[in-house]
């Protein structure tokens, strides 16, 4: 197993900047997810680690060895593609055996390893079939088998679950995580699904427009997003983001929008006011409490717009003036459209971002 380091890596396709100045270190045996919307450069990054794309600038290191100019076949990597990319003219057995054949492993050894991996992935009964005769889930396992059979130093997974149905996806999520921990292979996992990334990875690198936005463990990403993009991208339903300004009145600090005014805790207000006045306030749907009747003076007045029952809880859409809040409330709360309520945000969970730079202030 190795440590993978991306040292200031960039990749340009003509004028298109797919990846810009990416700094990333993946520790030995770590499971890292590259997360971002489509076109953010995550697959390009993966293909650079695989050696299929050559970086325009920067270096890629496996441990301390520079592999930037090494062709894919000399990097000892295993990769699972989104389309699985199984060889249609070969049987499952031959597909899995192919990397070993290329390594000129003796036939008996190949046979032993193929059967071992097939058993591990529970595809030992499919070895004689062709890929066209397999279901999506089975193909995915075969692709995984082909990647694992040569005992790679690094495992690269490019959206391996995106072609599976929802139920199988949840099953395979746990399976891949268990397998990775069991084998201890350094793994890079590309996905646009934040739930996948949060549930599987040790650390997540969030990317947007070719740039790294934040690289941290799932809890930190969720609780302390570094900027507006991460705040909006991580979490479902997404964080409420409201534009406004911070003003001081009689020694107290307020977050003011045309629709409502909200008193900020003093320390936060001071800190924000010392930096800028135009800000965006962020608060997660589960961090706002709905109060019916009287609340304290920091609560915001609102009107229930629509209620969406999600089973375990309610997603309540509340309007304060023109601003729409999404709030997660207990399922047993009785609410009706048009009802007047109060919203009490949890002061400790407030995020404030600089409107100009998008960076987090609090």
């Amino acid at each position: 197993m190795v440590r993978v380091t991306l040292d200031n890596v960039s990749k340009f396709f003509g004028k298109v900047k797919a990846v810009v100045d990416l700094e990333l270190e993946i520790r030995d045996g770590e499971f890292v997810a590259l997360l971002g919307p489509s076109g953010c450069g995550k697959t390009t990054t993966l293909l650079m680690v695989a050696g299929i794309y050559k970086p325009t600038r920067g270096r890629i290191l496996f441990d301390d060895e520079d592999v930037t100019d090494l062709p894919p076949k000399d990097r000892n990597i295993g990769m699972v593609f989104q389309s699985y990319a199984l060889y249609p003219h070969m049987t499952v057995y031959d597909n899995i055996a192919f990397p070993l054949k290329l390594k000129k492993v003796p036939k008996q050894e190949i046979d032993r390893k193929v059967r071992e991996v097939a058993k591990l992935l529970q595809i030992d009964e499919l070895l004689g079939r062709k890929p066209a005769q397999l279901s999506g889930g089975q193909r995915q396992r075969v692709a995984l088998g082909r990647a694992l059979v040569k005992e790679p130093d690094v495992l690269l997974l490019d959206e391996p679950l995106s072609n599976l149905d929802a139920k199988l996806r949840i099953l395979m999520r746990a399976e891949i995580k268990r397998l990775q921990k069991e084998l201890g292979i350094t793994t890079i996992y590309v996905t646009h699904d934040q739930v996948e990334a949060m549930s599987m990875a040790d650390r997540i690198a969030v990317m947007n427009k070719g740039r790294l936005q934040q690289y941290a463990d799932p809890q930190t990403l969720y609780n302390k997003p570094a900027n507006l993009f991460v705040a909006g991208f991580i979490g479902s339903p997404p964080m409420n983001l409201i534009e406004g300004s911070v003003v001081e009145e009689n020694g107290a600090y307020y977050f003011v929008t045309p629709s409502f005014k909200y008193r900020l805790p003093k320390e936060i207000g001071e800190l924000v006011a010392s930096k800028t006045s135009d800000v965006i306030l962020g608060i997660r749907p589960e961090d706002i409490r709905i109060v019916i009747g009287d609340g304290d003076d920091t609560a915001i007045n609102g009107k229930v717009y629509v209620v969406e029952p999600l089973g375990r809880d309610l997603l309540v859409n509340v309007k304060a003036g023109d601003t729409l809040f999404k709030i997660l409330a207990p399922a047993d709360l009785q609410l009706e459209s048009g009802q007047d309520i109060l919203m009490a945000p949890d002061e400790r969970k407030i995020h404030i971002f600089d409107k100009k730079t998008g960076k987090a202030i609090v």
Partner: protein, 297 residues
């Protein structure tokens, strides 16, 4: 009741429409084929009979017309060389062309489909333009080249020269056809093979080529048939009779106006068409896939 009646009317209308469509299809697709089938019918019955009644009905079954298979061909006052060396010449030409075309076009098609290099688009346009020239306008230039290469008037070596020319003329189109097959293979497959440990060459050989086999099959059949039926180049450049190919032999025999033996000519024509018939009946599906193409699974 009104509803049911109108349903019956609509059904009758639909039936009439279907009949009309059938009639149109019959007129467009079947009628024009009748004269062609009649001609083939004549060819077959004439070759096996002494006399043909009403153009297609054979009488007096005989194998006499096929005597060229075991004896020298004599027609009128002239005796032509034995059929078998000439068949072998034709086979050599056809297989040579097919082999060369497949070898070059499967490499060039891959390069044009998969590799980035300067002038790629220009080259593809140039290739199409090349195909636009009929070989007849190149006859003199090709003659000069053959002569310079010392391949003119050298018997068998002239045939080798013609293989080179014919393959050269076929390669552009074949490259385009095969390129289409390569284009249909997803990049992921090629990348997967690279990651699995292949060199670019090995990817081509072990993963890509097996997937474009239908394309290679189609191209080889087309080029085989085009070599098999090549007339102009052999007619122009080959002087010695023993290096004739079948089309040229048949041409010369049709030239014997006065003593023409229709029965033998029909048998010879049928003999010449045998590989074509075999190839098309075996490879129909494969040829259709040229237009459908693609990798499944």
């Amino acid at each position: 009741m009104v509803g049911r009646e109108s349903l019956r009317k609509r059904r009758t209308k639909a039936l009439l429409r279907r009949v009309a469509v059938l009639v149109v299809v019959l007129m467009v697709a079947v009628l024009p084929a009748i004269p062609i089938w009649l001609m083939y019918g004549w060819l077959v019955s004439q070759s096996f009979s002494g006399r043909v009644i009403l153009g297609v009905l054979p009488s007096k079954l005989t194998l006499e017309n096929w005597r060229f298979l075991w004896s020298p061909i004599a027609m009128g006052e002239k005796e032509y060389p034995n059929i078998w060396p000439i068949t072998i010449n034709t086979l050599f030409l056809a297989l040579g062309v097919a082999g060369l075309v497949v070898m070059v076009s499967s490499l060039s098609g891959y390069a044009l489909s998969r590799m980035e290099f300067k002038g790629r688009t220009g080259m593809m346009q140039f290739i199409i333009a090349l195909h636009a020239f009929p070989s007849v306008i190149l006859l003199i230039a090709l003659f000069v080249i053959l002569n310079k290469l010392g391949l003119y008037g050298k018997g068998f070596m002239t045939l080798v020269g013609i293989v080179l020319i014919k393959a050269g003329l076929e390669i552009p189109m074949a490259t385009w056809i095969i390129k289409g097959f390569f284009d249909a293979i997803p990049w992921d497959l090629e990348w997967a093979a690279l990651v699995d440990g292949c060199s670019r060459w090995r990817v081509w050989r072990s993963v890509i080529i097996p997937l474009v086999l239908p394309g290679i099959g189609a191209v080889s059949i087309f080029s085989f048939l085009s070599g098999w039926s090549e007339f102009l180049l052999v007619f122009t450049y080959v002087a010695q009779e023993e290096y004739y190919t079948l089309p040229v032999l048949i041409y010369h025999m049709i030239g014997e106006f006065i003593h023409i033996d229709w029965g033998m000519l029909a048998a010879l024509g049928l003999f010449y068409a045998i590989p074509t018939i075999i190839f098309f009946s075996v490879s129909q599906k494969m040829l259709l896939r040229i237009y459908v193409g693609g990798v499944k699974g």
